[in-house]
Symmetry: none
C-alpha cells in the first residue's frame, strides 16, 4: 500500500511550528508495516494544495491530508479537494447537526456564523465522520483509485481521528491485501561507537540477511542501528529479524545498551537497581548534566543519592574532599583530581559507586598538554580500584559536555555488565 501525507498551513512553511503530526502518523503506520512514501508540506495557497492533492492521489492508494478544515479564512482544504475532484461543495445536514449539538453543549449560540457554517460544507460524494474531540469532521473522499482522508491539524484532534477512524480502516484494507508484505523491526541503540565504526561492523552482515534492511541514525552521543525485515508472512519476517538481530548483537557486544524505545538513563538505573547498588556523581565540566539525566527518570531517587556540581576548587574540596595539595600540584583538570572527586563523592554520599568528570569544555581554558576538549572521568566503587580515563573530545562546548557525561556513565555501565558476568 502506497501512503502519502499532505500537510497544509502557512505556519508549517514559515518555521512557526514543527510538523509533529506527520511523525505521529508515520510511526503508527510503520507499526502496521507501512512505510510512508512521501510527505508534502505546502502553505495556505489554493493552487498548491489542489495540485499537491492531485499528484499525491495519482501516486498513492491512501493520502492523509492534515489541516485547513477550521472556520477561519485560511481554511480551504476541502474547497481544493472539491476542485481536484471536479465536484461542488455541499452543506451536509449530519455535519451541521453535530456542529450545532457541540456548540449547544458548550452553551454557545447554535446560530452558526459563516465561518462555522463553512465547516459543514464538504465535497459532493465524500463521507463525513464525526470528530469526537473537536468541531471539524473527518472527511473521506475517493479520487480515482485513491482514498483521501482529510483531518484537522490540531494535534489532539488529528490523533484522535487517526487512531479512532483512519488507522482501523487502513488496517482492514491491509489485512485484505493479497500477498501483502509483513514487516518486523528492531532498533538497536549503541553508545560509545562512532557511526562509521558501527557501519563497518554491521554492514558485512547485511548480504547474509537479504530480507532485512539495515539503517543508521545518529542521535549524539548515541548511534542507532535499525533493522527492518520484510517477508510474505509475519513468521518469516520475525525469523529474519531475529537472525539479523542476533548477529548484530554478537558483533556489537555491550555497545548495544538497549532496543526499540529503551533509553540510556533508565537502563543504567535499572542495572544499578538489580545490583542493589547506589550512585553519586561529582561533576565539573558537565555541570550537572549527569545528575540531570539520571534524575529525569521516575524513581531515580532509589538509586541516585546526590550530585555535586563543583565548579570551583573550593567546592571540590568542601563537598567531595579533594585535597588542596592535589589541586595545587596537578590542577583541577587532571587524573588525580578526577580520582579524588570520584572517591570523595562516593564517601560523602555513602554510595556503592561514585562517578566524576572534570575537563575543559571550552571554548576558553585548556593548557598545551590538556587542550580544550580534554576530559578526565573516573569511577570509584566498593572492592575495586578507582578507574580513570582521559578523553579528547571535539565539537564545541555542548558536544564535549554531552560526550563527557555519556562516557562517564558508560564506564559504570560496562563495569556493572562485567561484574554481572563474573560475580
Amino acid at each position: 500500500m502506497r501512503v502519502e501525507l499532505l500537510c497544509t498551513g502557512d505556519e508549517l512553511v514559515t518555521g512557526l511550528i514543527t510538523d509533529t503530526n506527520s511523525t505521529f502518523l508515520e510511526a503508527r503506520l510503520f507499526d502496521l508495516g507501512v512505510k510512508v512514501n512521501r510527505v508534502v508540506v505546502v502553505g495556505d495557497v489554493r493552487p498548491d494544495i489542489t495540485h499537491a492533492l492531485l499528484s499525491a492521489a495519482s501516486r498513492a492508494d491512501v493520502v492523509v491530508v492534515c489541516g485547513g478544515l477550521g472556520p477561519t479564512a485560511d481554511d480551504f482544504t476541502l474547497e481544493c479537494a472539491a476542485a481536484a475532484a471536479g465536484v461542488p461543495l455541499e452543506e451536509d445536514a449530519g455535519v451541521l447537526g453535530c456542529l450545532k449539538e457541540r456548540y449547544a453543549a458548550r452553551g454557545m449560540s447554535t446560530d452558526l456564523n459563516p465561518g462555522q457554517l463553512r465547516m459543514a460544507r464538504i465535497p459532493r460524494g465524500s463521507e463525513p465522520v464525526r470528530n469526537p474531540v473537536g468541531s471539524a469532521p473527518l472527511v473521506i473522499l475517493t479520487l480515482g483509485g485513491c482514498r483521501l482522508f482529510f483531518l484537522p491539524g490540531v494535534p489532539r484532534e488529528f490523533k484522535a481521528l487517526l487512531d479512532g477512524e483512519v488507522l482501523p480502516r487502513i488496517r482492514t484494507w491491509l489485512e485484505a491485501e493479497p500477498g501483502r508484505t509483513h514487516r518486523a523491526f528492531r532498533l538497536l541503540r549503541t553508545v560509545g561507537m562512532g557511526e562509521s565504526v558501527l557501519d563497518q561492523q554491521v554492514m558485512p552482515l547485511a548480504p547474509s540477511h537479504p530480507r532485512v534492511v539495515f539503517g543508521f541514525r545518529t542521535h549524539a552521543p548515541e548511534n542507532h542501528l535499525k533493522l527492518m525485515a520484510d517477508a510474505p508472512s509475519q513468521a518469516e519476517a520475525d525469523a529474519a529479524l531475529a537472525a539479523a538481530e542476533a548477529e548484530c548483537r554478537r558483533v556489537l557486544g555491550t555497545s548495544v545498551y538497549g532496543a526499540d524505545g529503551e533509553e540510556y538513563a533508565p537502563v543504567l538505573l535499572d542495572l544499578l537497581g538489580r545490583a542493589k547498588a547506589t550512585l553519586s556523581a561529582a561533576e565539573s565540566c558537565t555541570g550537572g548534566l549527569i545528575s540531570q539525566q539520571l534524575t529525569a527518570v521516575p524513581g531515580a531517587s532509589n538509586v541516585f543519592m546526590g550530585g555535586a556540581v563543583v565548579y570551583t576548587e573550593k567546592m571540590k574540596t568542601a563537598w567531595v574532599g579533594v585535597p588542596p595539595e592535589v589541586l595545587e600540584r596537578h590542577t583541577a583538570v587532571s587524573r588525580e583530581t578526577a580520582i579524588a572527586m570520584a572517591e570523595g563523592v562516593r564517601a560523602a554520599c555513602g554510595t556503592t559507586y561514585g562517578l566524576s568528570v572534570t575537563g575543559y569544555a571550552g571554548p576558553g581554558g585548556g593548557t598545551p598538554e590538556d587542550p580544550v576538549g580534554t576530559v578526565y572521568c573516573a569511577l570509584a566503587g566498593a572492592g575495586m580500584s578507582t578507574r580513570c580515563e582521559r578523553l579528547t573530545l571535539t565539537g564545541g562546548r555542548d558536544l564535549v559536555r554531552l560526550f563527557a557525561a555519556s562516557h562517564t556513565l558508560e564506564m559504570l555501565r560496562q563495569h556493572l555488565l562485567a561484574a554481572a558476568v563474573t560475580p
Copy 2:
C-alpha cells in the same frame, strides 16, 4: 523567489525523528522575506529521491536538500542528484583533502574506508563547499534554472552550512530582485506568562498595527511573541516593527527577558555578572537541571560557583547544612527546607545568591497537603530576607522539573531587575 525543501531519510518517514531542519530553515528564510513553497520528505528510496529532485527543480528557483550525504550505505542523495542531472559522480580532490585533514586532526587513519571515500564523490559540474563542523561537504548543483544545495541532515552541520554558506548566497540573489517586499521581525521571549495570558495582553494592540502580523509560539517553559512587519521599503517595515514592539514591551514588562536569539541562561548570567554577583544552587526535585542550564553557557564559571543535587535528607544536611530537625519537623518538601537549602548552599559556596528547589516531581510521592506537582523554591542573598514561593505545577515529571527550574531562576532575575532599578 520560489524555494522548496527536500528532506530524505527513512527515519523521517517512519516516525523515528521529527524533521526540525525544515522548521529551522523555514524560519531563517521567512526572516529574509521568503515563504517556502513546498517541503517534500521521502525515504531512502533512489527513484523517489531522483523524482523529487527533478520535480522540485522544475518548479523552484532554489531547492535545499537535506540528508543522505554521509558515509553509510543508505546515504545516496548525491547519486540521485547525478542521475537527475545526467552526469557521473566524480571523486573531488579538494573534498578528499579536507576529509583526510579532518581525520588526521582527530588522530584517525587517513587511509579512508570505502564509506568515507564515497563522501568525496560529487556530481560532475557541482561545487563542493567545506563543512566546518563535519565531514560531508555542502554541494551546490545547477539544474536548468534551479540551484540545488545539498546539506548533511545532522542538525548541527545543517545549521552551520545553512547560516555560513547557503543563506548568504540566497540573500545576495534576493537583494538583486526588483520590487520585492521588505520585512522586519522581532521575537520577544517571555517567561512566567501563559500563552493565553500573553495573547490577551497583546492582541488588543494588533488593530493599531496593520502592517504587523502577531504570532505566538510556545517553547516550554517560555512563550514567544513573533512580530512580522511587511512594507514596500525596509525603512517603513522597520518603523512599523519598532512601533509595535514598543507597545508590546510596555504591556509585557519584565516578562520579556530577551529578544530574537537571546536565550534565558546567558541573559541571567549576564545580569549577575553586571551586578558583580555570584550564584550557587541546591536542587532536589530538579536534580541538576538548574546547574546544567547555567553551566551550558560558556563562561558560566565566572558567576556560577557550585550546585548541590541533594536527593537524600543526609546530603541536604551534609552539603547545604539543612538542620536534621527542620527535615524531621517539616519534611524535605517544605518552605522551611527550601529556605534552609538556599541559605545553606549560599553559605557553603560563599556566593552573593543561593537558589534552592525542592518538591514532588512525580509520578510517585506527594502528600495530601502537598500533592505531586508541589514545589518550593527559594532565593537567599546578601542584605535581603530569604524569599520562598510555593508552586503547584502540572504536566508530568519533565514539565514539573522544567517549570520548577524556570520559576526558581526567574525569582533571581526579577530580584536583579528590581535591584538594578532601585539600588
